[in-house]
């Protein structure tokens, strides 16, 4: 086989890999199981206003949570704040059922 045929074959194989990878990644934009999860930068607690504010009412201000502020390079990123602890009253027992993760209000 001549060299030019090998070069065309190699280019074609690379193009197939390119197109195939593009097709795969556009159909799988986000992968929760990805090995690397870089810290999110610029979390400022922005509030999106969805309902009209009454005239004259003070505008709500967003306060960023300190635990969510991104760490700069070289700094240790603060961990999220620990969850609230509950104390059961005497006579109340914890259930073995799975905890409720979704509530619905109609």
């Amino acid at each position: 086989m001549p060299a030019w045929a090998l070069k065309i074959g190699a280019t074609f194989a690379t193009l197939i890999a390119l197109v195939g990878s593009y097709d795969y990644t556009t159909h799988h934009l986000y992968n929760a199981a990805a090995p690397l999860h870089p810290p999110v930068d610029g979390v400022t607690g922005q509030v999106v206003e969805v309902t009209p504010r009454p005239t004259g009412a003070p505008a709500p201000t967003a306060t960023p949570l300190p635990s969510l502020l991104a760490a700069k390079r070289g700094q240790v990123r603060p961990s999220s704040s620990p969850g609230p602890l509950i104390t059961l009253q005497p006579g109340v027992r914890a259930t073995a059922l799975p905890s409720i993760t979704l509530t619905h209000v109609s």
Binding site: L6, L18, P35, D41
Partner: protein, 178 residues
Amino acid sequence: MEAQTFIWVVARVMGLASYAALCISVVSGLALRTSVLDFLAKNRALRALHDFTVWLWIPLGAAHVIALLFDNTARIELIDVFVPFQTDYGQLAIGLGTISLDLLVVILVTSWMRRRMNNTLWQWIHRTSYIAFLVLFLHAYLAGTDFDSPLISSISWSAAGGLALLAVSRLFFGRLAE
């Protein structure tokens, strides 16, 4: 698609495509020293292919790195491209990519300067391409967002396994019998 999402897609696509192009480059290089592709072409044509593959994997690899530099989420800085283990997350996974890039740059530059170099020295430097490919594979395995996909994982592992088999046969048996 948002600009940042597009950059993220470009980084992933270019990473996967450059891996494929590098596999072709390594297999064509191995074919020069083994007779594994003798059924396909003569050594002269294989050498031309090996030299040509540079123009496939360099642009793709460069696009992978440049896209990551512009990706606000990945937070890769220029120093991370050349100095390993400087990132504030995934130090090993990203650092391996940096090491493989550094090795590939050295291999590439010395190949272009081959006629002005001592041949034995050039050969030993060029042999580090096996290490560079191994490190690159580990980088892809540890950092690759798409590496857990059965399709991509099976193709990547198969390619790496085939190349490893060829490299071991080259190491222990030299040029295979005609």
